[in-house]
Symmetry: C2
Subunit: 165 residues, 2 copies
């Protein structure tokens, strides 16, 4: 087993895999007569392939046990998938570059509980990793025909230590 | 001024105006090896008109003062707009049928803090009404060209009493 070190999330580090949904760095527009701040377009859906539609769902994740073994990855060839936490609790996003149709060396990001990420279409990522307690997320992704899920196992798992230390 | 009574939100009552985003009544799928519940497709975006795209934004609403006067309404002819609260605090959705291109008699719904609504494209609604304290919402709506905002004033305002009594 190989250790997988948690990295802090930055827009630059995550750029090859999608985008970071961070209100603090989004364009802010004052709307509704000045009563509302609109942190604009944290994410833009990419779901149109094969007549896909964009949907909003709620994911309720059970917390993972640590040290956590990353043994498989998945990707959605036909659409992006954005996660934004409803519970202000840090979580973990694991992504990987593609290597000849399989996930390469993974990278793990510790994501603050007020920030989301969007995996770009066809980007290898691990299923939701909630930390510490049951956690809810709003998820914007694709509904439609076609095969929009691929899974692949690693030959040997990577291990993420407990972010709580 | 005319009183506007708050109604409890039900899917049936809201159906003429859009849909209710309620995890408790959504289809629930167990995914990610049983570690995650997916409350599926709380809302489906309708943003494709005139090459629109679907985006996710964060709205930070300041609380309204009560009694609150509903003096105007708006609508988005080219796209749906979904709101889901990030802060578990009740809020108010005001909608109206169309009457010859203007908003008709409004209806006001008290929405629990764990539930969202989506205004269908071209449905008259009041801008975000946060209650009690600053409240954050995730908003799925449309980005793109064309005129996607109409506003109209009522001849005389309707008045919503403080939901806290």
């Amino acid at each position: 087993m190989r250790p997988l070190t948690l990295e802090p999330l930055t827009a630059e580090a995550f750029a090859p895999f999608g985008c970071v949904l961070d209100p603090a760095s989004a364009e802010c527009r004052l709307i509704n007569g000045g009563t509302t701040e609109r942190f604009h377009a944290l994410a833009m859906a990419d779901t149109e392939a094969q007549d896909g539609r964009t949907i909003l769902s709620l994911f309720r994740g059970q917390p993972r046990a640590f040290p956590y073994q990353v043994g498989m990855m998945e990707r959605h060839p036909l659409g992006s998938q954005a996660f934004f936490p409803l519970t202000p609790r840090a979580w973990i996003a694991v992504v990987a570059p593609d290597r000849d149709g399989r996930p390469g060396e993974p990278r793990a990001f510790l994501v603050p509980g007020t920030i989301g990420v969007q995996y770009a279409a066809n980007v290898w990522h691990h299923p939701l990793i909630a930390v510490g307690a049951q956690s809810d997320f709003l998820v914007m992704d694709r509904e439609g025909g076609g095969t929009n899920l691929e899974e692949a196992d690693y030959d040997a798992p990577y291990v993420v230590a407990d972010p709580a230390g």
